[in-house]
Amino acid sequence: MAFLDLFIVNKSGGLIHHRSLSEKAPQIGTNEWLRIGSTFHSLHAIAAEASPVRGKIDDGIELIESEGLVLCCFQTRTGIKFVLTAEPGTGYLQKVLKEIYVAYTDCALKDPFYELEMPIRCELFTQAVNDVMSRFGNR
């Protein structure tokens, strides 16, 4: 019952933030993370196109469940994707993603020195994500 990784992909598919949320998370290098981010972005877009039922703005991959992993994605209206991976059986994934989105709007979007679509280097955001994680009992 633990969250593993968080990564944030911008509108064009570039990775703007990634961090591991517990020690059980796999050790992946930065380049690998960039590849994962852009691959997920492409898969998300393909899934939206291939879906038999269309219509909403936020079509695309929302949840991937497998034996070893649960992956949840939240796409904002501006095309930013917040992706959270966790061990199977972890609850509140959508809620945590929404909280992280709120933290993003507060700490990154209101910071005049943060450039949009660029990697997030705001310490306040990191601390806010830590707070969200501790509130949802991440061990």
């Binding site: 910071d111 280097r121 306040l124």
Partner: protein
């Protein structure tokens, strides 16, 4: 038949003084109804506050972020950005001083350094930011320096870097108030790390690890004048 009769009654009256008075009354009635129907411009509202209004912190944060980005696109260095933000706040300071002096209805203006600084750290701060400054101290090292402490100024609440540069706006406000009151001074914002006791958190944001100190350095003439006053 009824229709033709009504038409005869409403044919145009010749221009006369009575018509003019009716016109004036209808115009006044229309204007008054317009005033209650449409919101009045902020410049027409009375200066004395009927009820205290509140602005959301997020709205201020986003607008101030745009102000900083506007200046940042036009400068080539951080000190220049700080100067621009300070001059933006300078004008605000003058106007805030006038407004608060009018609303406070005080008969006398402040002439001593300590009283004008108290006015700033208590009255001006409360009017601008909703609460007084956290403390006002005199520097031990320099006789001409005073410090106003604020644990979480709203100009740098959402920032992660260059916080003292963003607080230059508040430095400008303080400098404007002082200049308007007749105390020439230079104000500088610094950002030392906060002690454990300074619990100034905003709900929803992580606790701030540093605080802001506004160092006020008065001109020599001001200090001499204050000393001469006894």
């Amino acid at each position: 038949n009824n229709r033709t009769r009504r038409r005869k009654q409403t044919k145009n009256q010749p221009y006369s003084i009575d018509n003019n008075k009716d016109l004036l009354l209808t115009f006044i009635a229309f204007k008054m109804s317009r005033q209650t129907a449409m919101p009045t411009s902020i410049l027409d509202r009375p200066l004395t506050r009927g009820r205290t209004e509140q602005v959301s912190l997020s709205a201020f944060g986003l607008m101030y972020s745009e102000l900083v980005q506007y200046h940042q696109n036009r400068v080539s260095s951080i000190p220049e950005l700080e100067r621009r933000l300070e001059s933006s706040g300078y004008g605000v300071g003058f106007k805030v001083l006038e407004l608060l002096a009018f609303r406070g209805r005080e008969a006398k203006r402040e002439t001593r350094i300590m009283s004008i600084l108290q006015f700033i750290s208590v009255t001006a701060w409360k009017s601008l930011f909703g609460k007084g400054a956290d403390s006002l101290e005199r520097s031990l090292d320099n006789a001409d320096e005073y410090m106003i402490f604020d644990n979480n100024p709203i100009t740098s609440t959402f920032l992660s870097s260059h916080k003292s540069s963003a607080d230059a706006y508040i430095s400008g406000i303080i400098a404007g108030i002082l200049e308007g009151a007749g105390f020439t001074a230079r104000v500088q914002a610094v950002c030392p790390s906060a002690d454990e006791g300074d619990a100034r958190g905003i709900i929803g944001l992580p606790r701030r690890k540093d605080k802001a100190v506004f160092v006020v350095k008065f001109a020599d003439k001001v200090l001499e004048r204050d000393a001469a006053l006894g």
